[in-house]
Symmetry: C2
Subunit: 136 residues, 2 copies
């Protein structure tokens, strides 16, 4: 919960940030790596992971811990929801207003100190909306 005060903006970090901001998808670390590598061919995958993690901790970007085996990253940090295609795994934004009041409900019905929430819808995206692919 720190601010971005103390993070040095190295070329690598800047490029990661720019490339992430450039896409509306929610790329995995590897996808970010691929995008960034076009501009910085010698960058290491470890650096990408380290910096994505660091920026997420700093609140500069969002780390999405959605279903599926890979984490995804999002340059848009305000509260919004996502939908994941059970066919191909892609993740899109859901365009309706967030419901911060849910946190209150949760706080009332648990012993936790509630910090926030995330809603993840699942469905079939247009490209996968083919009787064949639909399963699994």
């Amino acid at each position: 919960m720190q601010t971005q005060s103390d993070i040095r903006l190295t070329p690598q970090r800047q490029v990661i940030l720019e490339e992430l901001a450039k896409v509306k998808t929610h790329p995995t670390a590897n996808e970010v790596y691929d995008m960034v590598r076009k501009r910085l061919p010698r960058i290491g995958l470890g650096t990408v992971y380290r910096n994505l993690e660091l920026m997420a901790d700093n609140g500069m970007i969002l780390k999405l811990e959605v279903g599926g085996s890979q984490k995804r990253f999002d340059a848009t940090t305000d509260l919004h929801y996502h939908i994941r295609c059970t066919g191909c795994g892609r993740v899109d934004d859901i365009q309706f207003s967030a419901m911060p009041q849910l946190d209150q409900l949760a706080a009332n019905s648990s012993d936790y100190q509630v910090l926030g929430h995330h809603i993840e819808f699942s469905g079939i995206c247009e490209s996968c909306d083919d009787p064949q692919e639909a399963k699994k």
Copy 2:
């Protein structure tokens, strides 16, 4: 989306199911393995994974694709929400009624064929509610 018609109830499967039903937590595959191993010492981890996966496909149990690196399993299959402790990673149920109407909202504001949703709250559980542990 098949029914449990065609699944053979082997001793291993039965024990997995029983042990899972016995706990209110949402154990990871490894935790299930540990519980089951007390009764079936020779069971393999692969068998546990295979059967959890199979039962989830059959709708007999729920596979929770929550945040964090591990999948968790739940013997309660009706729609309900969860809260995950950012300190220790434990997952508890949230006791308020589900909101199936959210799916309609999502359907209206996306090009997906919406299948369902899950809400995951995050917070600090009682045991971790110690200024020291709270971070990270």
